[in-house]
């Protein structure tokens, strides 16, 4: 009898303990490009001190997990409570509408209003999260290599041809494997495509067929790769739409010019240190402009959470002005919070002399994006377009397809994706 009673008591205690822990549990799936994982953990530790009833777990995962595994978890009605994602619009049906749970929805509308539409289904007024950072695609140049080669850095309105020619001279002089590299991503080449007049979006809002603008820049890119000016590894050494960054090649001074985006600033600063001087260049110009593509990572609440109130509380804390400001300063990310931007005075948390000017350059370049590029972040089919471009263009670079054969295949791949989603 005593044994049974003890057993029952132990069972009750363990049940109570597990239930109370479960009630306040909030899991965040997070990926990092730089130091932001450490920063957010630090901010969350502070939140937990003030809110002992909520237990926040930060799961640091690879970007590939966010891209490949999270969508499957979401389709199955599973997943974390909050996630940091870049595939924001396409998965919007899985995000939780926080509006009824927030103490002050107006604060969100006022400060994140410009980007809220990026992360909710078309026509919805939901508040599903906020951008942890605004990003802009753009280039970086190894200033030291340019100086050693005696080649002047191309100026503000330099074209893609100007940059590649200059980088080619540096590569030749310094005996480097290539002049430049662009991340293996459709998103990265889209700013350049738009700069040559491309428009991905048809009159009906559905994907348009590949146009002359895209053909113009992609043709150049393929030609540069064939000539050995673009580092072949990044695009050719994988099949499908696999993402590959070329940051390590730039960090190891293997290429004098690298086209990626503002999110690399912290990464470059941390890994390059004082090995060489580098500068952000903005986006080189095409025939229609000098555009990059805006974007960024959003922190979104997942609608399958069992603790929506706790999730809303965590989101309110992370979206608060002081936290956003501190997060941006420490991670070197451009904030999406209107109040933080308007007040200015961000003290970038870096002693690296390259960082401040680089971020300023990206802020300046953000004002030069073309409307066709600005339309991409909230567009549902952007990722399908990007994926088809990467898959087929890398086949062309590998010599498996001609450019003429690639265009109808890109159109077909995108059309298949649209048809499949019906």
């Amino acid at each position: 009898m005593t044994k049974t009673r003890t057993l029952l008591a132990a069972l009750s205690v363990s049940l109570l303990a597990s239930t109370s822990a479960f009630a306040g549990d909030v899991r965040i799936m997070w990926y990092s490009d730089g130091v932001e994982g450490d920063v957010i953990q630090d901010l969350l530790n502070r939140f937990q001190k003030d809110n002992p009833d909520i237990h926040v777990t930060l799961d640091n995962v690879a970007y590939k997990v966010i891209q490949e595994q999270l969508p499957i978890q979401l389709e199955a009605g599973q997943g974390p409570d909050i996630a940091r994602v870049t595939n924001i619009k396409e998965l919007a049906q899985h995000w939780l509408d926080l509006r009824p749970l927030l103490t002050d929805p107006k604060y969100w509308d006022d400060n994140f209003g410009d980007t809220l539409d990026w992360m909710r289904p078309d026509g919805s007024k939901a508040i599903t999260g906020f951008m942890t950072q605004l990003t802009l695609t753009g280039g970086f140049a190894n200033k030291t290599l340019f100086e050693q080669a005696g080649v002047a850095l191309p100026g503000d309105k330099a074209t893609w041809d100007d940059w590649i020619n200059a980088a080619a001279q540096v590569a030749k002089s310094q005996q480097l494997p290539a002049a430049f590299a662009i991340d293996r991503s459709g998103h990265r080449i889209s700013g350049a495509n738009v700069s040559y007049g491309a428009n991905y979006i048809g009159a009906d809002g559905k994907p348009a067929k590949v146009d002359d603008g895209t053909k113009a820049f992609v043709g150049k890119l393929v030609d540069w790769t064939a000539k050995g000016l673009m580092l072949k590894d990044t695009w050719v050494s994988a099949a499908g739409s696999t993402y590959r960054a070329a940051a390590d090649d730039f960090i190891n001074a293997q290429i004098p010019f690298y086209y990626s985006g503002s999110w690399q600033v912290a990464n470059l600063s941390t890994k390059i240190g004082d090995s060489f001087d580098w500068v952000a260049t903005g986006s080189p110009c095409g025939t229609a402009g000098c555009s990059g593509v805006k974007g960024g990572a959003a922190l979104v609440a997942i609608k399958y959470t069992k603790n929506p109130k706790d999730v809303a509380k965590v989101m309110e804390y992370l979206a608060s002005e002081s936290v956003v400001k501190e997060f941006s300063e420490r991670t070197l990310f451009l904030p999406a919070h209107k109040g933080v931007i308007a007040k200015g005075g961000l003290k970038w948390g870096s002693a690296d002399k390259n960082v401040g000017p680089a971020l300023d350059k990206f802020v300046q370049a953000a004002g030069e994006t073309l409307p066709a590029a600005d339309a991409l972040p909230p567009w549902k089919w952007a990722n399908a377009y990007f994926a088809a471009l990467v898959t087929r263009v890398s086949q062309v670079m590998a010599g498996e397809l001609t450019l003429d054969a690639a265009w109808p295949k890109i159109d077909q791949d995108i059309a298949d994706k649209v048809a499949e989603a019906k």
């Binding site: 891209q67 490949e68 595994q69 969508p71 499957i72 389709e75 199955a76 009605g77 595939n87 494997p177 072949k232 590894d233 050719v236 050494s237 994988a238 099949a239 499908g240 739409s241 696999t242 190891n252 293997q254 990722n383 399908a384 990007f386 994926a387 088809a388 898959t391 890398s394 086949q395 670079m397 590998a398 010599g399 498996e400 397809l401 054969a405 295949k409 791949d413 298949d416 994706k417 499949e420 989603a421 019906k422």
Partner: protein, 340 residues
Amino acid sequence: MSAAATLKTWTGAALAAPVFWLASIVNVPLKAWQRATGTGGMAAFFLAPNMAIFGIFVLVPLVINFFYSATSGTAYFLQDRTYVWLQQYQRLLDCGNYLDTATCREDLFWRAVHNTGLFVVVQVALMTVVSIVTALILNRAIVGRSFWRAVFFFPVLLSPVVTGLIWRWILQRQGLLNLIVHDLGGEPYNWLNDSFWAFTAAVSVSVWAHMGFYTLILLAGLQAIPRDLYEAAEMDGTKPARVFWRITLPLLMPNLLVVIVLALIRAVQIFDEVYVLTGGGPGTSTLYLTQYIYEIGFASLLRNPGLASAASILMGLVLVVLTLLQLQVGRRGERKGARE
């Protein structure tokens, strides 16, 4: 009895006690079950856990996969998907000329099929030859024979991801091989960006990784060949090459057939080490069927679970044929063994 022996006995008894106690508890329902169902029932009882695992992780997913292959849409729940029946198969098999992937609706699928076909032919042939040669060498009275046997088997124990990473670090542009080439005064080469060398690397690495297993099977076969046949051949002055073709190879044939069929099945399923090594590149020159299915089902932003399921069913059919072949080979070997 010495104190040590007494202690040993007591320790043994203490350790065995919980086992006996547990056995006595389990024994009661088991005896009842045996009385009710007979020895056949006992076999079913012991097989049940394994069959349950097989059912949950193999049979049920297989059946579900059939349904997925008959649907379209981006949703993952079957009830949210649209039934299109054989449309995904039609899409996969829609081809002007099966030998020219450019004429196929799903050209990447057919490119993967072609790549897999070539990989299977070259890899299985190379695997078989290398395994026979290694087994023949390891069967001889060489110095440190046990050590060498362990050395050749060691890669089998490695995770395929580790294997792929090791060889990637060796073969990549700034890898070990290019360092050696550079130190010898040569021009470093981007091995993994050249479709010929990437294919060669994929085949060689998979042979390196798995040959230990097949060598072991062949070694067992070699050791089963009666020594007196070799002694008789030696007395007759038969040349070593003739001994190999007339004695060793015919008597090794049952093991060799098993090796070929197992290597075939494994080669068709090739994925992990090549995926890590080349990522399917350059371009799609090392994109094999399993990677295609993985990409189109999960990884690509153009993902299509229905198409991936249909492709996996088609691949499964090929594997069923190969497995039946393996069973046939196995039975023929058993019959031959029984006759002898």
